[in-house]
Assembly symmetry: C2
Homo-oligomer: 337 residues x 2
Amino acid sequence: MKNVGINGYGTIGKRVADAVACQDDMQIVGVTKRTPNFEAQMAVDKGFPLYISAPDREDLFEEAGIKVTGTIDDLYDKVDVMVDCTPGGIGAKNKEVYAEKGVKGIFQGGEKHEQIGQSFNSFANYQDNWGADFSRVVSCNTTGLCRTLKPIDDLCGIKKVRAVMVRRGADPGQVKSGPINAIVPNPPTVPSHHGPDVQTVMYDLNITTMALLVPTTLMHQHNLMVELENTPSLDEVIEKLESTPRVVLVEANKGLGSTAEIMECARDLGRPRSDLNEIAVWKESLNIKDGELFYMQAIHQESDVVPENVDCIRAMLEMEEDPAKSIEKTNKNMGIM
Amino acid sequence: MKNVGINGYGTIGKRVADAVACQDDMQIVGVTKRTPNFEAQMAVDKGFPLYISAPDREDLFEEAGIKVTGTIDDLYDKVDVMVDCTPGGIGAKNKEVYAEKGVKGIFQGGEKHEQIGQSFNSFANYQDNWGADFSRVVSCNTTGLCRTLKPIDDLCGIKKVRAVMVRRGADPGQVKSGPINAIVPNPPTVPSHHGPDVQTVMYDLNITTMALLVPTTLMHQHNLMVELENTPSLDEVIEKLESTPRVVLVEANKGLGSTAEIMECARDLGRPRSDLNEIAVWKESLNIKDGELFYMQAIHQESDVVPENVDCIRAMLEMEEDPAKSIEKTNKNMGIM
């Protein structure tokens, strides 16, 4: 049984904590929080030992009446790996502390690949992370791209990918981000960073991406144009994606014609927080034209990377050599399709 | 002086009426309205003779106290051309009536090319509409694509275009359309109709499009990937677009990083209804990579086709043989850059 700490019990951290807690080969020994908000209280209520990430903020937690087990300095000794879910940019600084304390660290997509030195996706490069001290689970968008591009590459080879990423402006619980009524090229330059980010785990993929923000909170949406080495039949592509874990085909004509309807369906699945860890590919959108595959997919930005964090723990702590077995185990315990 | 009627004084109709009224070689002799709403009253206030498009609705106008000049049947004799700005699908039915009455008709992008038999864009195929009885000004999105693709094709030849069209969910004044908080593949199939629609005016262009709806009302946004026959320098592309009428380059780093900021700038221009008839191309987004040009542009859906309607009148009524001269005249009178 491996011991896992979560540094930063926020949007991603609380989800990774639950995902780790439902595995049978790892457990949560502590989660950290900087601010004594409702999430901190709920961590305690769930039975996760709570540690304050900034020692000088003990007063705040005392005032808020939230009982803590200690500060982050008391947690390092207890963990085999720290999953760092702090806001983008903080993780890279934390890495130095983890190195000092002799603690392995898993970071999120908000960190730069260059600063962590290694990136992770369960399907693309699990084995390259075997025993690593530090790695970075690529962002929700990059994970979404890898989830479908890897099986397509396996099936028929990819010459070139072009993708336009339509990103949600904020998460459902965020009130300070925009836009409210605009489309924002983000970045306004081409290519966006997503292509190079995919290349941190699918090293040789030829990919160019463009990205923008729109006023919605539910999911990202991707538009993919994939030039293929060999042209399979559309049925072969559908079969391949249907048999790929963490990918689901959805049909607009069955009432799943938008990100809103997909997330409504996810609520019916009854998972924690009504999450959808799978990438949803619109079946109708799949089309092959002149050796090029077109499709559209939707990404639940808050949850798709969560199972990847669990697999990353197994790779870095040398718990399971076969990525397929880790993926299957993670999925089974989380109820993922 | 040619006499123009507007059938359907709504979002597009009222704008075309104003654009025609400010030219010196054509005038508005009547506009029609089906419903006695604020737009009907404003047409009267502006001095446009108002005709009821459905004779059985005279009571409604009388009740509303809106003074009309007659019904549409009284208008046919007075016009050299009727610009049909009725909702999509109605125009094709009206075409039969116009043919009976011996009146030329210009339709909007909501009609099908096949039903009208001819389509129009000022830059792409003005001369092919010389003396035509019926034509259709292609939709706002298609017009936006033509505005930038035509000069690029002229500059260096186009091998293949891929475009992802991020469409506004509703116009600012619409309250019954969605989405409020979702991304909607629309259509959920690939390709969308926009590619074939471009081909109704740029006949030989190899183009594939994907389209979706997002919760915004201000503008459409396009993401373009254009494989070129010959590779120019980026400066040559910028120069070409800067010298193309009805196209403006905008810079995110000058505070124009989104559709909201672009439309805020348009309000400062002081045009009727704060419209932006030009296509706004983000200068920073222009990039050439492996012989492929990438860029992003924004389209003011309510107004970009308006000057095209004016040019279409000149072509169909054989008023000006040279498209460049018509474009220049229209622009000068409307204050377009």
